[in-house]
Amino acid sequence: MRTSRLSFALCALLLVTGCGRVQPWVKPYERERLADPVMIWDRDAISTAYINHVHENREEARGGTGSTGGGCGCN
């Protein structure tokens, strides 16, 4: 019940903010540094996917890394 209320409150917030006009506090012309290659989250996606696979097959924790999929290769 508590989870349902929380979901509803979050949905309401998303709906309200999704329809509203929020003024960006960082203007497009102020994003020069953010566009620099040093600020890319994941420059080598193929490499990040592999190191995540290595960790997930040897540790119990998984998820929260933005990747999906399975396979084992874990003996």
Binding site: T3, S4, L6, S7, F8, L10, C11, L14, L15, T17, G18, C19, V22, Q23, P24, W25, V26, P28, E30, R31, R33, L34, D36, P37, V38, M39, W41, R43, D44, A45, I46, S47, Y50, I51, V54, H55, N57, R58, E59, E60, A61, R62, G63, G64, T65, G66, T68, G69, G70, G71, C72, G73, C74, N75
Partner: protein, 389 residues
């Protein structure tokens, strides 16, 4: 499965919100990556090539395709303890994805298949990503479903155990938010819930128990796992642009599941351009800590002591440290024939696995339960060639 209904409602409401506004945006860059990578540690070597290509068919449709091969050789501590033959197996994975861009919304679907001689996995996924608030925020919702088939190889020729064919399936819900915070800082939040049911254990693993009360000798028996698991991961990340043109990234993830495993992952990355920007250097440190699962024990007192019994080291308490370094060199910087840019990168990660309640049972000179705790180090090397078109 108890968390699935609220999550479904949340996804439905969020989709309504995401569809509220749409303007113009662009698809990701067209690029191709080819890599060769190797993992070596704990008696096992895994190596092979991989490839990932993204191409755009129009201003609003982009397709990705990839494949990889893992050649696995060697014998891990679990295999040595049980006297199993060294491994010589191959895993092949293929994936295909389509992105459709409509205004500021990207709809994606993907399929992935991974095949080994004793483990087949198929995964379907769908996601929706929305840029909003003047492109300050990107919200991504992902749902995926996976189906695994597990068999058991019984000899070096690859023959399978007759009648042994198990299934498990997996449902994943993920919410990701990427946010511009200031002119110098971006942040991210990820939540992922995974529910699994079916055969969730490794068919080759065994638990060990004392041959008799007070005995120094142990015997082994096949593990017994629960048939369901629900896991949750909550992650946050921040990336800051430093005054001398470099960046510092901090990440933290908290994980918990219905097998009573709790895990903390913290990571720090530093990125620095070198040699007039032709080389990009990355240094990474990762800390990982988990406690053991509720039905895990290194040594049980007798056979069938509990309903569920496991001795998988993946379920044991452990503290792992990873140090990584990567260099990326741009060898084509301007348009050359059809290539806009090309780079070569080399990644090296050194991982130290330290188990806190998993003992090295190969050390037969010690009485059962008094062996030193198992520990090993692993190296991961990746060489990547990337081209943008």
């Amino acid at each position: 499965m108890t968390g699935a209904a609220p999550l479904t409602r949340l996804l439905g409401c969020a989709l309504l919100a995401l569809g509220a506004a749409a303007h113009g945006d662009v698809l990701p860059d067209e690029r191709a990556d080819v890599s060769w990578r190797m993992y070596q540690g704990g008696g096992i070597t895994v190596q092979g090539p991989s490839m990932l290509v993204r191409t755009n068919f129009s201003d609003d449709i982009s397709v990705t395709a990839g494949f990889l091969v893992d050649q696995v050789t060697g014998a891990s501590i679990d295999m040595i303890v049980l006297g199993a033959s060294p491994l010589h197996e191959v895993r092949k994975q293929k994936n295909l994805g389509v992105d459709y861009l409509y205004g500021k919304t990207t709809y994606s679907v993907g399929i992935e298949s991974s095949i080994e001689n004793d483990y087949d996995d198929s995964t379907l996924s769908a996601s929706i990503a929305q840029n909003m608030f003047g492109d300050l925020t990107t919200v991504t919702l992902t749902a995926s479903r996976g189906w695994d088939i597990i068999t058991r190889v019984i000899d070096a020729e690859g023959d399978k155990q007759p009648g042994f064919r198990k299934r498990s399936d997996r449902t994943t819900w993920a919410l990701g938010v990427s946010q511009i915070l200031t002119r110098n800082m971006i942040g991210g939040f990820d939540y992922e819930a995974i529910t699994e049911q079916g055969y969730l254990q490794n068919p080759y693993r065994a638990y060990r128990y004392l041959a008799a009360p007070g005995s120094a000798i142990y015997l082994t028996a096949p593990e017994i796992f629960p048939g369901t698991r629900t896991s949750n991961a909550i992650a946050m990340r921040l990336k800051d642009y430093l005054p001398w043109r470099a960046s510092l990234t901090g990440k933290y993830r908290y994980y918990f599941d219905t097998w009573d495993v709790r895990a903390h992952t913290a990571e720090l990355d530093y990125t620095q351009p070198l040699f007039k920007d032709s080389v990009m250097a990355d240094i990474t440190y990762r800390y990982y800590r988990q406690n053991s699962a509720s039905f895990y024990s290194d040594l049980f007192q007798y056979a069938n002591e509990f309903n569920y019994m496991a001795r998988d080291r993946e379920l044991a308490s452990q503290i792992n440290n990873t140090m990584g370094v990567a260099f990326s060199y741009d060898f084509v910087k301007t348009q050359h024939w059809f290539v806009k840019k090309a780079s070569a990168s080399l990644h090296y990660d050194y991982i130290m696995y330290r188990y806190l309640d998993f003992r090295d049972a190969t050390q037969r000179q010690y009485p059962a339960g008094l062996e030193p705790f198992y520990r090993y180090n692993a190296s991961v090397i990746q060489a990547v060639l990337s081209g943008w078109f």
